[in-house]
Amino acid sequence: MEKRAHFSGWTLPLLLILPQMAITVIFFYWPASQAIWQSFLREDAFGLASEFVGFENYIDLFKQPEYYRAMITTAIFSTLVAFFSLSVALLLATQADKSLRGGHAFKTLLIWPYAVAPAIAGVLWIFMFHPTLGTLARPIRAVGIDWNPMLNGNHAMILLVLSATWKHISYNFLFFLAGLQAIPKSVIEAGAIDGAGPLRRFWTIIFPLLSPTTFFLLVVTVVYVFFETFGIIDAVTGGGPAGQTTTLVYKVYADGRLGGDLGGSAAQSVILMVIVIALTAIQFRYVERKVQY
């Protein structure tokens, strides 16, 4: 799309675009290319010299059992958070979409967790489920389960899924509600006249019409779990116990910071970049489809 009328001149637009260009090049392109370059280098133990090692960092990475474990952890974490946050949000959105008295207040009461920082969300949940002082951990322990997310990897993962889902429901809820409100009422009424009950109407009319929204939210949720849950993981488990909740992004951080393996960390960054670009590309293809829809 183009504007019909324009201002002429070259210097002014270049000056206008300069600040963003400068910041983008210095803090985006330069570091991103450095990450790619570093992924082909290996530093000695003191970080004094580095040599070009080709794809060795990548090959080493794929020899590490920890890397596969981080992949599996990320996959499990994303699947669970996506499933729970999407289904709970859809359930709440379908209820809020019914024209209820006071329906708008529910919307406000359900969307504010979006504003809570991931790390803070993690702190709230660890406080609730802290093995010795958590208000909700006591009943669990009373039933006889030795609940301890600090020592048990599965318990730690459950806690992470709960906090990450809690934080993301608001976002999915908002988009589902918008999607539901965009469905013409006449379609649903037509279904009702043909004798379809509410459940049938939901699965055969509403759910299919909502599928673009669902797909979009699925991609966004996966990106959210990949990157934004870093704060939750760092606050709740620190990647532990024994690396059992280390996701791919957390491993980039831990290997570069704590392990000092910058080449390996850079190689992981590059792989993550490829994954994000793929996810974004999928999302854009879908967005184009939605426009025609």
Partner: protein, 281 residues
């Protein structure tokens, strides 16, 4: 809706109320914890109605340091506020200018410039943290507000949002302004800027929340405790060995950290929803 069935309405209310309670409970618990002393919480028998230590906890948290060389949280909140405002205003400024250039001017490499900015949409800061850290360190920007803010405004969301909005403004407005003899500056100031106010406000709300909640980046580049943001500060409070964790202080801090962004969402809900929906397009 289609049918009128009181029972179904009742079930809808019930579901929503349960949803709201589940969503609010963790925060309720944190608020309660901020009104008790340490011993009551450590016991594991914290009551679910408020205690009487609120004034004590909030004043100690905000204005005094504590065990493990804790900084007063007031300072952290000021840092968070500066960072969030810096990110929000900085991003609005650079992106409205670049969108103006891309939409209303014809200049060489305009398409290229647009794509160069557009691509940044794809890569969150998390995947390039160490090289970015190194550049910020080389520029001497560690432990500065500039270092906290600049790398986080290098993204395309704002530019795309403004571009999208400018495209919806009728061409006739520019033609009329030109006939009236307005230059590029005049048109921007008197026509475009007033029209963009809602978009600016919506972007501000989203970016303020984004900035306030930043975690990984401030964690890496702030080493001085006087530069800590509140989201980082709270994490340090609970990782000192378990027995030393002052839970009442940590939970008071958590409540304080939630207040500004949550208030923004509640009181600017319309702008928040607009910003969220439009930056995701």
């Amino acid at each position: 809706m289609v049918e009128n069935r009181p029972f179904r309405d009742f079930m809808a209310y019930l579901t929503l109320v349960v949803g709201v309670i589940v969503v609010a409970f963790p925060v309720y618990l944190a608020i309660m914890a901020s009104t008790f002393d340490a011993a009551t919480i450590i016991n594991g028998n914290m009551p679910l109605i408020p205690g009487d230590q609120a004034a004590e906890n909030y004043s100690r948290t905000l204005f005094y340091g504590g065990k493990a060389a804790r900084e007063p949280v007031m300072g952290m909140m000021i840092n968070s506020m500066i960072m969030a405002m810096g990110i929000a205003l900085g991003k609005i400024l650079i992106s409205i200018l670049s969108a103006y250039a891309v939409v209303y001017f014809k200049f060489p490499f305009r398409k290229t410039a647009f794509w160069v900015i557009f691509i940044t949409l794809m890569l969150p800061v998390e995947v390039r943290i160490y090289p970015t850290y190194k550049i910020v360190a080389d520029l001497g920007l560690l432990d500065t507000y500039t270092g906290l803010v600049l790398p986080l405004i290098a993204s395309a969301t704002g530019t795309l949002l403004f571009r999208q909005f400018f495209m919806t403004i009728p061409d006739e407005l520019l033609e009329a302004s030109k006939i009236d003899g307005a230059g590029a500056f005049r048109f921007f100031k008197d026509t475009l800027l007033p029209l963009s106010m809602t978009t600016i406000a919506a972007l501000f709300v989203i970016q303020f929340i984004y900035g306030w909640n930043q975690y990984l980046w401030p964690l890496l580049i702030t080493t001085k405790s006087s530069m800590q943001t509140i989201v980082i500060g709270i994490k340090k409070m609970i990782t000192t060995t378990d027995a030393l964790t002052e839970w009442q202080i940590a939970m008071t801090t958590a409540v304080l950290a939630m207040v500004p962004p949550v208030l923004v969402v509640i009181f600017m809900q319309r702008l928040f929803v607009k910003g969220l929906v439009e930056t995701e397009k």
